[in-house]
Symmetry: D3
Subunit: 158 residues, 6 copies
């Protein structure tokens, strides 16, 4: 029967022991959407055309959050991260922003949570900077799109 | 023409100056969904029936993240938070977990971001603890459902 | 029947809601002991006589830890702290160091945990700096000795 | 004459230079006691029988604190930690909780402080959640019980 | 004879007790210079003309550092900050960047350290982003230019 | 044409990808000055002769800040640091304190920022502890004096 990796035989939370694992190169990619109303979307788009500051701040927030993943997610390991990147795409006809992240590390454990956390916190930052124009902004569809390295191998989201 | 509150007249990021605002009582509520496959959903449900640890850990993570909001979201103010609560509901026929948060403060600025951050990080924690069973978990529909207090008054999501 | 304040009616952890409390002046004092072997005790004593650095570092660590209490203790509130002090006394015939802390705040909730955390982390810092001389150091008898302010009034340890 | 490893020849604090050390596998175990009055002890025990939340929260707090050790203890190195575990045992006739921690790492320096810090912060968390029932709770006998790895070899507390 | 406010009568560090002070409105301004070689200065200037990212990132870093001041400076109090702003000016004929900060709070203690820390960390961020072009960058003349509020009144740097 | 390493082809901030770099031994040294008025300088000097606490606290603050560099500087990598040291020299005829730092690591990226951050935060700490005696204190000439290791080799400031 399938079991939760972070829960012991008595149902209590536990950290996974990675002591006997080797350092291998790991990559992970995640994606998420921020849906805005037209006013807020246009404000982000026009700001981007000029100086790009909403998305610049969101990018910095995502990078810094990825480095803090092990502080935020209780059972995550602290690891050295060799690269974090985020990119943003505006989808005009949906008033949406697509956020993609990519994280790399040479470590005993993967960087899926770092990639997911980067997208989530970048999304929250967009929300924060636009909330005066639209309190109904929706953060959606945060998923892992790819990961490689480690015992469980490569995963590609269909 | 509507403008971003966190961007100055030259398009650059700025923090909102709340120096002249009064401390008033503020509440905010947020909500989000975590969609799992059947195996992972059943594991969370069965663990909940026994000891509830996945959701206990997610709750603690959400509370702690709410207290860290100003560290995560660059232009957020650091404020005293008088209450943070999270609750979880399992939706059997959708293999989904609904996460609701509620945050209170007596402050010069609102607690919307704290409520949103609590939901986002609780969701990420569920992902982390279940990812070995299901890498395709989706975090979705994170929205503000309610806020009151401050100059902009009460907001209720339709 | 007496109940845990940080656990709800279903046995789950919760933060205490202090929204309706008033800001009042609060003080708390805590105490703890570090027992060393003679070699380590003498090294601390002689270092103190010269420059006092082991205890200086422990004092700084205790002050900084008190400010981090809400990050360390999951259900603690973040509060403004108006004063933190630690003092150290050497007890020659027991090879022991007594650590006393005192914390003040004008807040909706007390500073007991801040005082206790200051003593605990100062003790750990002494351990760290002396462990090469004595791995058997014991940290003991960390207690709250006094607190005042708030609805529960004054407490003095007998 | 024996000397403090974290103090230089002039009596000033210093960080130990581990640049020339090799990464080796390291383990450390620590232990501590929390003594409660009967009311508080019974509340923890009954909560444990139901859902275990006091000890669940204390466990999470201990794990997270171990990851923050280098932030709390000024002269500690920041290291990658491959495993952190805490367990709790209730001693009925003493109204006591025994907390045991175990930490592993492959690093240039040991994990004694991480193990000690995990026990101390888990103890403080128990105190926090029970203090409304008993302000006289005592945290005692925090000691290193075992460590292995590194130049100084294995230590087992008698 | 003049005495250090953060040192007690025995020469040991201490935190200033602000328990009996009132919350008053406080402002502080600080300033600093970053001197670059021509290549690095031109790269910042041209980047600024296009998108402004070096200075955008430095601004965000300065704002976030101001919020962390009490974590960085051991004897600083943690306070609520109502506003933080940084501005940057390029001085062509000196290949220099002038960084100005401004911080406000309604608190029992001033925000001088927050303003100084914002400038220092923004300067370090410029260094970081330009160091591949010029390792000889100099950060200089970080001073408090203005402060008001509190018992010591207004200070204006001559 | 020379380009900023932390800015992509569109002028946006980016983290440098160090995934393909090897761990090599790295050292960096930085230096800075704090200029005080005579009253404040004498207070530091006399405190140093007695117990040295101002400079002790500044040293601890510098060590802890170096460990936090990746939190403060947005595009810095988090790395294991094997050694951090700071030293202080008083220059009587200039009422100045010279602060020197030295940082070592075996990592994929250098420790220049850690050395610079240590000096900057130690300087701010001196400012904090002396500001009641002299609000005109100036922090100046923070520079990298030396670095070795990594692809760009050794740098020695002239």
């Amino acid at each position: 029967m399938p079991e939760l990796s972070h829960v012991d035989s008595q149902g209590k939370a536990k950290m996974v022991d990675v002591s006997s694992k080797n350092d291998t190169l790991r990559h992970a990619k995640a994606q998420g959407y921020v849906f805005l109303n037209e006013t807020a979307f246009n404000a982000v788009r026009d700001n981007k055309i000029k100086k790009g500051d909403v998305l610049s701040v969101a990018k910095i927030a995502g990078i810094q959050a990825a480095k803090k993943t092990n502080e935020l997610i209780p059972l995550c390991h602290n690891i050295f991260i060799s690269h974090i990147d985020l990119s943003f795409e505006l989808i005009e006809n949906e008033n949406a922003i697509v956020i993609n992240s990519e994280v790399s590390s040479e470590a005993k454990t993967g960087v899926e949570m770092e990639a997911m956390t980067a997208v989530a916190v970048a999304s929250l930052t967009v929300y924060d900077m636009c909330k005066a124009l639209d309190r109904s902004i929706k953060i959606s569809d945060i998923v892992l799109t790819y990961k490689t390295g480690g015992k469980s191998g490569t995963y590609v989201r269909k």
